[in-house]
């Protein structure tokens, strides 16, 4: 635990909590402009959150404590990832937790908690959303682990600071076949895990197509605010991980005001550009049928397997 790590961790937590609704706002705004609408502005998700937080909490009849605890756990798990992963600085606030396997599994755990809450409502929608989300998770998780593995084998460690640091020192490694294949696979993982097109449509409320929204249909008021915040944080954390694993430049390696400021700026720019690009691409995509999604995920699993095999046969 170093000064840089602690400072970076605190900065990251604030940055992710404050910035992630803005990222969602940005992505919606890009999409609106591309579709020829004026859009609600970048700050709209924050205005929504403020409104929801001020409402009276509502518990649907027949649900248990798990339903009420799930949003808190979702945000808490994402918050821990936001603190420990190297986003702003290469040092981590808690080095023994900043492991790529731990981080990805922790993010998956957030989804699992929400799926259980969806099942807990006992409605058809809740069960349907939970079933679909769990199916996608079960297929995405292997791809994520394989991609992690492909990135870790050349570095000889699954520790995030080590992987990011090695990318900084040896830029050629970022362009190796294993790394590129893993990048594509991880991109698909991020798209699937955060419920973006073409896997899930975040703005749909049609029962035939809903995945994530069906699962959280019963949430309202402050609970819904936490769910929305948690989802936004997951999106920015995933994009941040993707950015720093493959484009680590700009991240702070020492504890100076200038270095940290540069680190924050680099992260904001990278995540904003990635998010905008994702939103831009989504305009041209339609959601695929639920039963075509596994084909997409099987493709990414294959890419990840190739990445691991490429990593085992060093050039």
């Amino acid at each position: 635990m170093t000064a840089l790590g602690v400072l970076g961790g605190a900065l990251q937590a604030v940055l992710v909590v404050v910035g992630s609704p803005l990222l969602v706002g940005l992505m919606r705004q890009v999409r609106a402009r591309m579709e020829g609408r004026a859009g609600a502005g970048v700050g709209q998700p924050w205005r929504d959150l403020r409104k929801l937080l001020g409402k009276q909490p509502i518990t649907p009849r027949g649900t248990s404590e798990l339903f009420r605890v799930a949003p808190v756990l979702l945000v808490a798990m994402t918050l821990v990832v936001a603190v420990v992963a190297p986003f702003v600085s290469t040092a981590s606030a808690l080095p023994p937790v900043a492991d790529l396997i731990v981080v990805v599994a922790l993010l998956a755990h957030g989804t699992v908690v929400l799926a259980l809450a969806g099942l807990d409502t006992g409605t058809a929608f809740g069960g349907m959303g939970a079933s679909r989300e769990t199916t996608i998770l079960a297929l995405v998780e292997p791809t994520a682990l394989m991609a992690i593995f492909a990135l870790s084998v050349p570095v000889g460690s699954t520790a995030l600071p080590a992987i990011v640091g090695s990318g900084l020192q040896d830029p050629a490694r970022v362009l190796s076949p294993a790394s590129l294949l893993a990048a594509v696979a991880l991109l698909l993982v991020v798209v699937a895990e955060t419920g973006r097109l073409p896997v899930d449509n975040p703005s749909t409320h049609l029962e035939l197509t809903m995945v994530h929204e069906a699962m959280v249909l019963e949430y309202a008021g402050p609970d819904l605010a936490l769910v929305e915040l948690g989802s936004a944080m997951r999106l920015s954390v995933y994009l941040g991980l993707l950015a720093n694993l493959f484009l680590p430049w700009g991240i702070a390696t020492e504890a100076g005001v200038l270095a940290l400021a540069l680190g924050v700026l680099a992260l904001v720019v990278k995540v904003a550009v990635l998010g905008a690009a994702l939103a831009f691409a989504e305009v041209f995509l339609a959601k695929v049928r639920l039963f075509r999604v596994p084909e997409l995920l099987a493709g990414s699993f294959l890419l990840a397997l190739l990445a691991v095999t490429a990593a085992y046969f060093p050039a």
């Binding site: 023994p96 259980l116 807990d120 297929l139 998780e141 593995f149 936490l226 046969f313």
Partner: protein, 671 residues
């Protein structure tokens, strides 16, 4: 006499006392006395095992007990691990069994069999010669078989499960018998020390054959595909405490056998042995969890999950042997440590899950997930226990299985540079199998817990479920505590396990650390304790911070969203079958489910539907492809054989005459 010896003597005495008590004590007190004595036996064995793991060894010979070779006992650190695990499982199960036995399981025979079974499964890892091992193994097989069929009068399926188990376990025994006899042939006597010294004298082909035979025999006990057919039958049909003992303690001994014979007695062997072990482990892990994810029978699901977890353990054991054979003992020790830790974690959470499933069965009379649900209201403690077990089993942090899997992946990450093409193909495929298993395990346990315990009751039995008696809850609590300790503070046992693995491979312990799991020789660190603390702090922050910002108003209860169509009924809920349907569809080609939809129309109009019947069956494909033809061939052979014996004495005399002539001709020709 050392600590180990004294504790083991106490174990033996308690087991014997348990048997006597089962025969002598009247029915009203029988389960209590036998349960307490078995509990004491388990506790003593745990102490003995722990002491052995810490380096206290013990050996004894009882020459008069068996003809010819006598009984030779000895505990080393490796055996100590399995004694400790078996003992600890026995404590929780015996305590639980006191309450569970009230429902028709307090007969003399069943009660007497439990301590014998516990004793025999503790005897296997302390056997120090071939004969003792074989006798203990057979005793374990017979007593477990008798316990599996304990409820055969109530359900017809029990008898069939018992037959499968009896045949499979004895085929396995024959394989082990042949393998160990060939192995012991060049040795001076059957003791492990002599066998170890003489193992080098075996020619490579014979050594390979011995290893494969032992792998088949021990692997069938561990439930490895394709020898797993008995497991998803016997575990669900056995009484739940027995299922827990079998699934958490007995299957481990299959792994013990492979490690003992392959790594210890035969000293490592060549690369292909371990590639084979790894491949079998990977196939078992994926196949097991695939069957588990589509299963709607709670105990069958858990049984298939055992196949999966034993597969993962064998991937670790295989990696260990592979790294040892390619000259990297440090990594080998790390892989073995991962395998042992996963084995320990599996024992803890599988005990908890089977005991939880037993409570559900006890309270509702069904283990069909499609008829359960809503148990959290009537059975809060069981629900919490099962939830904890499900978290532990689903390889998510901070869970029990996660630490073992993390260690296993660490050893595979550092398996570079992989020498040989076969190795560089098998290692990535093994990683893929582990990864696929992790994802599907999550889905499996979300289904088991979410559908079985949350939501609303799907049947009257589930709605009327009441909490189990305190002894059953106490048994679950013990297993739950073990799960939590292994999840949050695995460092309590990891250094000891690492020493065991290190000693076996003659290197320094590969894992150390008090709060953080630190790997020696390779980079890598993980601290489940810090992770759990960070999560708790973050959760507290998330609860407190919004309350500081916005004034909180009182919670209000509201109706569930029912689309304005009136109250929702339980029939509108997702069931376990519908929950797993998307995954079943994705893995259609592998699972090949059999679906049957029967639509009956009204007599007046073909457009009006009167009723729809839907039936889905996911048969075990390995079983259908592999076992059905063999069974059919055996049956055909039997029919042919029947034609030979018509009952005519003349014919039998003729057979004897022809046989004798043939023998004489053979003798003349070979002289």
């Amino acid at each position: 006499m050392s600590v180990v010896g004294a504790a083991l003597a106490a174990t033996g005495a308690s087991c014997a006392g348990g048997v006597l008590a089962a025969l002598a004590v009247p029915r009203a007190r029988r389960a209590l006395v036998v349960g307490m004595l078995t509990c004491v036996a388990g506790a003593c064995a745990t102490v003995a095992g722990a002491a052995a793991m810490l380096g206290h060894t013990w050996a004894a010979e009882l020459p008069g007990l068996l003809p010819l070779s006598g009984v030779v006992l000895g505990v080393d650190a490796l055996g100590g691990v399995f004694v400790a695990v078996g003992g600890a499982v026995a404590v929780a199960v015996a305590l639980y069994g006191i309450g569970y036995s009230r429902h028709g399981l307090d007969g003399r025979a069943v009660q007497a069999m439990v301590p014998v079974f516990v004793g025999s499964l503790l005897l296997v890892p302390i056997a120090a010669d071939v004969t003792t091992l074989l006798v203990a193994w057979e005793l374990m097989a017979l007593t477990s078989l008798l316990l599996v069929v304990a409820e055969h009068r109530r359900r017809a399926a029990v008898a069939s499960a018992g037959r499968w188990y009896a045949v499979m376990t004895h085929l396995g025994f024959v394989a082990i018998l042949i393998g160990l006899l060939v192995l012991a042939a060049p040795a001076a006597d059957g003791s492990f020390a002599a066998v170890r010294a003489a193992a080098g004298a075996l020619p490579p082909v014979a050594a390979g054959a011995v290893f494969v035979l032992c792998l088949v025999g021990f692997g069938s006990k561990a439930g490895i595909v394709p020898l797993h057919a008995w497991l998803p039958r016997a575990h669900p049909e056995a009484p739940s405490p027995v299922s827990a003992l079998m699934s958490a303690a007995m299957v481990n001994l299959g792994v013990y056998g492979i490690v003992r014979v392959g790594l210890d007695l035969m000293g490592g062997g060549t690369r292909w042995w371990w590639l084979l072990v790894m491949a079998l482990g990977a196939v078992s892990a994926v196949y097991g969890i695939l069957q588990a994810v589509v299963s709607s029978d709670l105990k069958r699901l858990l049984a298939y999950s055992t196949t999966e977890n034993m597969g993962l353990v064998l991937v670790g054991v295989g990696a260990c042997g592979l790294f040892a054979a390619t000259g990297n003992p440090v990594l080998a020790a790390l892989a073995l440590t991962a395998a042992l830790l996963h084995l320990l974690g599996h024992a803890a959470f599988k005990t908890l899950l089977f005991l939880g499933a037993g409570s559900v069965l006890h309270a509702t009379g069904t283990r069909d997930l499609d008829e359960l649900g809503g148990l959290r209201a009537g059975m809060p403690v069981t629900t919490a226990a099962f939830g904890l077990g499900a978290l532990a089993a689903s390889t998510l942090p901070p869970g029990t299985a996660f630490v073992g899997e993390w260690l296993l992946l660490q050893s595979l990450v550092h398996g570079l540079p992989a020498p040989g093409v076969a190795t560089s193909i098998v290692l990535p495929v093994a990683v893929a199998a582990v990864a696929l298993t992790a994802g599907l395990a999550v889905a499996t346990f979300v289904k088991a817990f979410g559908v079985g315990f949350l939501a609303r009751p799907r049947s009257d039995a589930a709605a009327a479920a009441r909490e189990s008696p305190p002894t059953m809850l106490a048994g679950m609590a013990l297993a739950g505590v073990a799960c939590v300790v292994l999840a949050v503070a695995p460092t309590v046992v990891l250094p000891v396990l690492a020493t065991v693995a290190g000693d076996l491979l003659a290197v320094a312990p590969p894992v150390s650390g008090a709060v953080t799991v630190e790997l020696a020789g390779v980079t890598g660190a993980l601290s489940p304790l810090l992770l759990a603390t960070a999560l708790a702090l973050a959760a507290a922050l998330v609860v407190v911070l919004p309350r500081l910002l916005v004034a909180r108003r009182a919670r209000r209860a509201a109706r569930l969203w029912d689309c304005g169509a009136g109250p929702l009924s339980a029939r509108m809920e997702y069931t376990a079958t519908s929950f797993a349907e998307p995954l079943q569809r994705v893995f259609d080609d592998v699972l090949q489910p059999v679906q049957d939809i029967d639509v009956t129309h009204h007599r007046e109009s073909a457009y009006l539907v009167q009723s729809v019947a839907y039936r889905r069956l996911v048969p075990d494909r390995v079983e259908r492809r592999l076992y059905t033809p063999v069974l059919a061939a055996a049956a055909a052979w039997g029919r042919v054989g029947r034609r030979l014996g018509t009952g005519s004495v003349h014919r039998y005399l003729g057979y004897g005459f022809v046989g004798l002539c043939g023998l004489l001709v053979l003798l003349v020709l070979t002289r």
